[in-house]
Each structure stands twice: as structure tokens, then as C-alpha cells.
């Protein structure tokens, strides 16, 4: 069983490039070049230099002593929250901006939900002096004002998506439409392991620096390169893809993907795509997605804006279908409590997305000697308003 993309762009039955002909030349250009460019020595050198000096990698693998005591197991946190811009997203945008430059593109577009990927894209565009346009749902613009301001300060143009449900999926549609209108000079930096092939594979490879570092750091700290469990939250799935990547073929490593159950899986307000989704096509990829019986894509819900995507990357759909990864759904309430617990026990305020991963500690028994890695994908600064309202702080 392979968990990597095949030469046609599929993970098992999922993936592919279901795109209108108008996008074919852009996507094909990328498909033909992405591996070649990523393997160039000069690319690798520049990529790793920036990850080190600009992003601040390697991010620490921190042994969470008090959390470990509480749950009677060995818990390590992969501190992606300490990256520049506050989350794992920047690993991908650094990679893609270098890719765009080598493809000769001088205009960058991106979609964003809560604004984290938008900020990470605007940041690398400022760094490289490249024009940046970020599409963001009108509703998200209203509820994520600080990130909108950050993007503007960084020189990006934030364009409201006013169609459909006016959130992430519509922002993605608008970005795709922009790409159709500007096929020659523009590169589309997708923020997750979603979209047409080769995006899911390319983004997973850029994020794979996370599991690469985990292996090295674990070898130093525990004298083994293989943890027993790796836990990560999944919206589109990029931080999970990064945390799982080097363990995909090591079946002894249990992979746990945590989805947002919102108000409860059966509440009608949820983003638990693996459970509620059905096979279909979203944003150019065949994968699991939340949709009506008639095939219309529905709007998911989660308290965390980074997890409410109605689809999931094709890699994750494959991990779900094959049973390679365990999928657990965590409600808003469980996530918020877990976020507060981490704050109290370890002095780390996590992004609410990441809080979902921590809530698994209460749901699942781990052995005393198990090494459990939790990918702390982002910091909670952006979520203070939500925490304040939820806990009446």
C-alpha cells in the first residue's frame, strides 16, 4: 500500500486534477516542473536558509512535562506556533514563493479563511517584493479584522469574495477565477494540501520539514526516530500532512487526524468531513467532501475558522479510506477546554485549530511509555477574542 501520490496525481482513488480547460496550462506547467525545481540544489539551499534564518526553524520539539504527568504518557509538542507569522502555514508559502520565482511569475494570488494563510502569503510576497492579491470571504473579512490589517500592512490587496456563502470555499473559487483570468504571469499559492494535482503533493512536501525535524529531534531526545502516535488537526490537512509525512510508510506509527465536530457530528453544524463527507469533486480534486444528496457543496461549521473547510485533502481521504490514520472528531467545547488546559499546564496559548488535537488526550488512552507527538500548528494570539468570549475572561 502506498500513501504517496502516484504518477497520475492520485492517492488511491482520490486526487487528480478536475479542472476546467482554462486552468490546464497553468496546472500542467506546475506539474511538469515542481519536482525538478524542488530537487535543484540552489532551490533547496535557498528554501532551507529561509526556513532557518527567516522562519526560525527548526521549531523545538518540546517535552511537555506537566501535560505528560497529567495524562500519564510521554507527550512532545512540535512547536510550529513559534514560527514567524505564528503557524506552520509559512513553511508552504516560503516554498511556493521560491517556486513562483523560478517559474517566472510576478503576481501572486491566494485564498484565505481566517487569514493565517493570507498573512503567510502576504509576508513572503513582501519579503520578495512581489505583488500579492488575497481573496477572502466577505464574512471572514468582517470577523478577522486584525489579520486583514496585517495583510494590508504587508502590502497585499485583500479582495472580498461576495459570492455563495462568502467564506473560505468562495474565496478559493474567486482565487481560481482570478487564475483563469490571468493564466500567464500569476502563481496561485494554495494554502493547504487541497486543489488539483500537483498541489496536494507539493504542499505536503513543503510541510514535510515538520516530520523530518521530529525524527531528528526524537532521535536525540528519545533515541528513536519513531513515536507511537502523531496527533494533528485537519481542516484541509496541511499541518497533519507535514507531521505525518515521514511516518506514512511506518505502519508502527499511529497517525491520528483530528477533525472539528463543531456543535457535534450530528448537529448539522460540523466540519467532520471524513464522517459526514462523501466522495466528490471540490476545487479540482476528487476527495471526501460535505455536500447535499444532489452534489451541491455545503457550508461547514467550526468555532475554529481554520478547520471549517467542506473538503479534506486527497491524501487524508486516502488515509481515512485505507484506515492508515485514525480519525477523531472533537467538538468546539472539547477543543476550548483543551486549549485552556494547555495554557494552564504549560504556559502556551494554542490556536483553536491546534486545541482540537490536544482534546484527543481526554478521548483516548495512551500507555505510560508511549511517545505521543502533538503538532502544535499555531499560536492562539489570533483567537484571543474567541477565547475571551467563550470563557468570559
Amino acid at each position: 500500500m502506498s500513501y504517496h501520490v502516484d504518477e497520475k496525481g492520485y492517492y488511491g482513488e482520490f486526487g487528480g486534477a478536475y479542472i476546467p480547460e482554462m486552468l490546464y496550462p497553468n496546472v500542467e506547467e506546475l506539474r511538469q516542473n515542481y519536482l525538478k525545481i524542488m530537487q535543484e540544489e540552489s532551490f533547496q539551499k535557498e528554501f532551507h536558509q529561509l526556513l532557518k534564518d527567516y522562519v526560525g526553524r527548526p521549531s523545538p520539539l518540546y517535552f511537555a512535562k506537566r501535560l505528560s504527568e497529567k495524562y500519564n504518557t510521554k507527550i512532545y509538542l512540535k512547536r510550529e506556533d513559534l514560527n514567524h507569522t505564528g503557524a506552520h502555514k509559512v513553511n508552504n508559502t516560503i516554498g511556493q514563493i521560491l517556486m513562483a520565482k523560478r517559474l517566472g511569475k510576478n503576481r501572486i494570488i491566494a485564498e484565505t479563511g481566517a487569514g493565517q494563510h493570507g498573512v503567510a502569503t502576504a509576508t513572503v510576497c513582501a519579503l520578495m517584493g512581489i505583488e500579492c492579491i488575497v481573496y477572502m470571504g466577505e464574512i471572514d473579512i468582517a470577523r478577522q479584522a486584525p489579520n486583514v490589517a496585517r495583510m494590508k500592512m504587508l502590502g497585499a490587496k485583500v479582495v472580498p469574495a461576495t459570492s455563495g456563502s462568502k467564506t473560505l470555499k468562495d474565496a478559493t473559487n474567486e482565487a481560481i477565477r482570478d487564475w483563469i483570468n490571468n493564466p500567464v504571469d500569476t502563481h496561485y499559492i494554495i494554502g493547504s494540501v487541497v486543489g488539483p494535482h500537483p498541489y496536494p503533493d507539493m504542499v505536503a512536501r513543503f510541510q514535510s520539514v515538520v516530520s523530518e525535524e521530529i525524527q531528528k529531534q526524537l532521535l536525540e531526545q528519545e533515541n528513536t526516530a519513531f513515536p507511537n502516535h502523531v496527533i494533528a488537526c485537519v481542516g484541509g490537512g496541511s499541518n497533519a500532512a507535514g507531521a505525518f509525512y515521514h511516518f506514512l510508510d511506518e505502519e508502527k506509527v499511529n497517525l491520528i487526524a483530528v477533525e472539528a465536530a463543531g456543535h457535534g457530528v450530528d448537529s448539522g453544524e460540523s466540519a467532520a468531513t471524513s464522517i459526514l463527507g462523501k466522495e466528490g469533486i471540490i476545487h479540482g480534486s476528487k476527495t471526501l467532501l460535505m455536500q447535499t444528496k444532489d452534489g451541491q457543496i455545503t457550508e461547514p461549521y467550526s468555532i475554529s475558522a481554520g478547520l471549517d473547510y467542506p473538503g479534506v485533502g486527497p491524501l487524508h481521504a486516502h488515509l481515512f479510506k485505507t484506515g492508515r490514520a485514525e480519525f477523531i472528531a472533537i467538538t468546539d467545547d472539547q477543543a476550548m477546554q483543551a486549549g485552556l488546559e494547555l495554557t494552564k499546564l504549560e504556559g502556551i496559548i494554542p490556536a483553536i485549530e491546534s486545541s482540537h488535537a490536544f482534546a484527543v488526550l481526554k478521548e483516548k488512552e495512551f500507555k505510560k511509555d508511549d511517545i505521543v507527538i502533538i503538532n502544535l500548528s499555531g499560536r492562539g494570539d489570533k483567537d484571543l477574542d474567541t477565547y475571551i468570549k467563550y470563557f468570559n475572561l
Binding site: 478536475y18 476546467p20 480547460e21 459570492s163 468562495d170 500567464v184 452534489g295 451541491q296 457543496i297
Partner: protein, 252 residues
């Protein structure tokens, strides 16, 4: 020979009209088709609305959103069209995105189209190679013509491949844009129209995207067999009663 192939043999420039099924109201579908035929339309593209129409501009997006709110879906559309062939003779094509067809069941969808008398399908997000590999035989089994798109960025080699597996017309997207975006055609488009003409394809081409008046229709059909009008027509029925569809044809 099906109705599309017969129509393409007529010695005239063809006018093809797109509209979104279920818009402005749910039950307008049949009467729009009948009025379009009476007004002289050669081919009709019936848009099956989708929640996330990636290749469409604002006009068709809005009509799709409204049509879905009105309750349009594959099943309703097939029910509305079940007797359409007792009144309408011109070629009818369903244009829609792939996911609703996938959920309906691709074979079941094709079978239903065949029963009703639909002649072809345009599915912008079903890639040519996937069609060729997985669905071509189904389409043939149910006598459906699949219409592929080409754009100014499509390479000659790929156009030749698309030409080789086409059995109706090629939908020639006029410029790098979503639907409805342009008002006139410039030098770039003219050069593209000429380039395609010089390829001497076996499949006739019909130009779409950006045709909104007599001038753009004539420019687009200098070499091509016809032109497709979508957004401009959707705007017309947004603002005028269905009985006035014939007024829209003053330009053509």
C-alpha cells in the same frame, strides 16, 4: 447522426444560447426553451446550477445561486424536461459541473439524458483525459456528444488531441477569462481565431465567453461555425419577461 451533428451541417452561422435552469423561477425552464426555439436559436445549452461554478463570472454565478434556492437539481430538471421533445426540435445540451453528475451517477445521468432527448453535455471540470479513459464509452452508449473547451493558452498539440476525440463541436473559449467578462475582442483574440482556423480541424468550432452583441458575434464567427451567448442572455431574462425573448434576437 444526432441533432447536433445535423445542425452543424447547415449552411449558416449558428446561434447557441445558454441559460440557467430554474432561473428566474423554478418552472421557467421549459418555456424558456420553447421561446428560444421560436426566436430562432440553433442550439440551447441548459445550465444545471452548481454551488461552486469555478469557470463562471458573476452573472451566471448569481443565476445559479438563485436557481438552487428555487429548488433546481438534476432530478427536478429531468422531470421538467421529460416531454420536451414533443415541442422542441433543435439540439439541446446540458451544461453543468461534474460533481452533481457524479452524485446522480454518471451512467444514470447519461441514460436519463438519452431518454429525454438531450443530445450532448458540456462539463467544464471533467478533464479530457479522464473522459477519454473512464466515460467515453458511456457517452457513446447513450448517444451523447461531449463538448470540450479550448482556450487561447491551449497548445496546438492538445487541440489536435481534443479534435481527435470530439464528435460534435469544439467550444472555443474566446479569451483567458471566466464567462461574461469581455465586451469587445481585441487583436489578441483575432490572432487566436486565425490560429485555430489555420489548424484546419475536423471538428467545427463554436466560440463562447464574451459574446454580448451583434459586433462581438460577428467577430467571433468570422472563421468559427457559431457563437454561444450566455451571460448576456441571462441578464436579458433577468430584466425582461420570457415572452420578450424574441427581442433579444434583434442583434443576431
Amino acid at each position: 447522426m444526432n441533432r447536433i451533428q445535423q445542425k452543424l451541417q447547415e449552411n449558416k452561422k449558428l446561434v447557441s444560447i445558454y441559460f440557467t435552469a430554474g432561473y428566474p423561477t423554478l418552472t421557467d425552464t421549459k418555456s424558456i426553451i420553447e421561446n428560444l426555439e421560436k426566436a430562432g436559436t440553433d442550439i440551447i445549452e441548459i445550465g444545471l446550477p452548481f454551488s461552486d461554478p469555478l469557470a463562471d463570472g458573476p452573472t451566471i454565478q448569481e443565476s445559479s445561486t438563485k436557481a438552487l434556492k428555487n429548488g433546481m437539481n438534476s432530478e427536478v430538471l429531468f422531470e421538467q424536461l421529460k416531454d420536451i421533445r414533443s415541442t422542441v426540435n433543435i439540439p439541446l445540451i446540458i451544461m453543468g459541473y461534474f460533481n452533481p453528475m457524479l452524485q446522480y451517477g454518471v451512467e444514470e445521468f447519461c441514460k436519463k439524458c438519452n431518454e429525454i432527448g438531450i443530445d450532448g453535455l458540456i462539463i467544464p471540470d471533467l478533464p479530457v483525459d479522464v473522459y477519454d479513459e473512464a466515460y467515453k464509452s458511456l457517452f457513446e452508449k447513450y448517444n451523447l456528444t461531449n463538448i470540450f473547451l479550448i482556450t487561447p493558452q491551449t497548445s496546438d498539440e492538445r487541440i489536435r488531441y481534443i479534435d481527435s476525440i470530439s464528435n460534435g463541436f469544439i467550444y472555443m473559449v474566446s479569451s483567458a477569462s471566466v464567462t461574461g467578462a469581455k465586451n469587445t475582442f481585441g487583436e489578441q483574440q483575432k490572432a487566436y481565431f486565425e490560429r485555430i482556423n489555420n489548424l484546419n480541424l475536423k471538428t467545427p468550432q463554436i466560440v463562447g465567453f464574451g459574446i454580448s452583441n451583434k459586433e462581438t458575434f460577428e467577430q467571433a464567427t468570422t472563421y468559427a461555425k457559431g457563437g454561444i451567448i450566455g451571460s448576456a442572455f441571462v441578464k436579458h431574462i433577468t430584466n425582461h419577461p420570457i415572452g420578450k425573448i424574441k427581442d433579444f434576437f434583434i442583434f443576431a
